[in-house]
């Protein structure tokens, strides 16, 4: 009889779905339709094979991350599971360097004490202390970079970003979570065209995805549009120009939304400029990261321009502590913290 393991307990799943098995034992697992459509009951496999049916309708990156629908999952062997965004593993990491990217943004390079498995474009949670943490996107590529590299923007009054800017230095030891998020590069369709749109330090995941794709031998066109209000908000421009010079299928455009076009940059938002250059996105894969309004609008507009809904990967950076989200106290176990913010505060 297969058993379901969850939060340290093990239960017999007598022909039950994982959802029914856990809720019958008093666990709270979000759910709604219970027929595999609404995706409210997403969970993550830690150990054991995921039945194929339990991943019906999920995006390729969700599948690759081991997410499944608990209501459609009837395990045939012992199966350890977690809520989709629960931190089940934390490790110590040493700061190896902090680099200035522009006035507001620093690259924080971390060496974890034991290896962290991640994909470029995912994010992890950095803990200031047991109660305070924020999500930051990874700009590094596992096969290219020894360090985990985060881009951190300083927010005025930001509890965690202020601490990072003022207190952290090479040699500091911090706690980080494992990696989360469904916005990352997947091999398998090397000729597909890829559009990447980002604002501010939404460049972090896109920088990782771009380098990961090129390093994996991606052949399709890769178009990166990075936007900021002013030219001073752009960064890594020289590195990206060099990458573009070395790879004929990669193009990079700097987009400045306020003020006239200037040296090296165009006037407009990444979304406007990208759609002008590429009005038909049928067959494209799209990555959207950064400002949540931009991400929402771009999700709609790139879909209307022909991108399939299952090929649009988005990571909106929601600021912590906005009225719609709970106050900025994320529990150490983080079981209540939802996958929302990235590189914010």
């Amino acid at each position: 009889m297969p058993r379901v393991v969850f939060q340290g307990s093990s239960y017999e799943a007598a022909g039950q779905s994982v959802l029914d098995c856990l809720t019958a034992r008093g666990h709270s697992v979000p759910n709604s339709c219970r027929v595999g459509v609404c995706q409210s009951c997403l969970m993550r496999a830690i150990r054991g094979a995921i039945p194929e049916k339990a991943q019906t309708g999920l995006t390729p990156t969700m599948k690759a991350r081991g997410l499944f629908l608990a209501c459609q999952c009837f395990p045939t062997e012992d199966f350890e599971v977690a809520l989709a965004d629960d931190v089940i593993r934390r490790v110590e990491a040493r700061v190896s360097a902090i680099e200035r990217l522009n006035d507001e943004i620093r690259a924080v390079r971390l060496r974890p004490s034991s290896p962290i498995e991640y994909r470029s474009g995912q994010f992890l949670r950095l803990f200031k202390d047991a109660r305070t943490s924020r999500n930051y996107s990874l700009a590094s590529v596992p096969s290219l970079d020894d360090d985990l590299i985060l881009h951190v923007r300083r927010f005025s009054g930001g509890l965690v970003s202020g601490w990072i800017f003022e207190q952290l230095e090479p040699g500091s030891v911090v706690m980080i979570s494992e990696a989360f998020g469904d916005c990352f590069y997947l091999t398998g369709r090397p000729r597909q065209d890829i559009l990447l749109l980002g604002t501010g330090c939404g460049l972090a995941p896109l920088y990782g995805i771009t380098r990961d794709a090129l390093n994996s031998g991606h052949r399709g066109r890769i178009r990166l549009y990075h936007g900021s209000r002013e030219a001073g908000g752009l960064y890594l421009t020289e590195q990206l120009r060099q990458i573009a010079a070395a790879h004929s299928n990669f193009q990079y455009r700097q987009c400045v939304s306020e003020g006239p076009p200037g040296e090296g940059h165009c006037s407009g938002t990444p979304l406007e400029l990208a759609l002008k250059d590429n009005p038909d996105l049928g067959g494209w894969r799209v990555y959207l990261c950064g400002n949540p309004q931009m991400v929402d609008a771009a999700r709609m507009e790139t879909f209307l321009a022909g991108a399939a809904s299952s090929e649009i990967f988005a990571d909106p950076f929601l600021p912590t502590g906005t009225p719609s989200t709970p106050p900025p106290q994320i529990d150490a176990s983080a079981s209540t913290a939802r996958k929302t913010s990235s590189s914010a505060t």
Binding site: V35, C38, T56, G57, D296, M300, F303, A308, S309, A314
Partner: protein, 120 residues
């Protein structure tokens, strides 16, 4: 065989969902009701709706339909908008070369939700 199997099951829903949702968003008669919605969530809802309309497994009740559309009824959602959605659905299925008699059945299933959607 039931309607859901005849029409092609989950694969038919997957094939139809983007075409249908794009038509709805571009339909000037109804696009205003979709302004500012979260597209990620909306795509899952469209899928749930199509699964239901195709006669597939679903647990949506009249009460869900009422609750889910009440704020739109306040904004003036009426029969003409409901008809527009059914029309877009029919056009989607035609594009996918679904035979007319099955399209009529789907429209009939969709029709059963009219009173709840419009809050009557």
């Amino acid at each position: 065989m039931g309607l859901y199997e005849d029409i092609g099951g989950a694969a038919a829903v997957d094939a139809a969902v983007d075409i249908f949702y794009r038509k709805v968003l571009k339909d000037e008669r109804i696009s205003r009701f979709f302004k500012g919605v979260d597209m990620g969530k909306q795509a899952a809802k469209q899928k749930a709706f199509l699964t239901m309309a195709f006669g597939g497994p679903n647990k949506y009740t009249g009460l869900d339909m009422r609750k889910g559309h009440a704020h739109l009824v306040e904004q003036g959602l009426n029969d003409s908008h409901f008809d527009a959605v059914v029309e877009d659905l029919g056009a989607t299925l035609k594009e996918l070369k679904v035979p007319d008699h099955l399209i009529a059945k789907v429209a009939a299933v969709a029709e059963t939700t009219r009173k709840d959607v419009l809050g009557r």
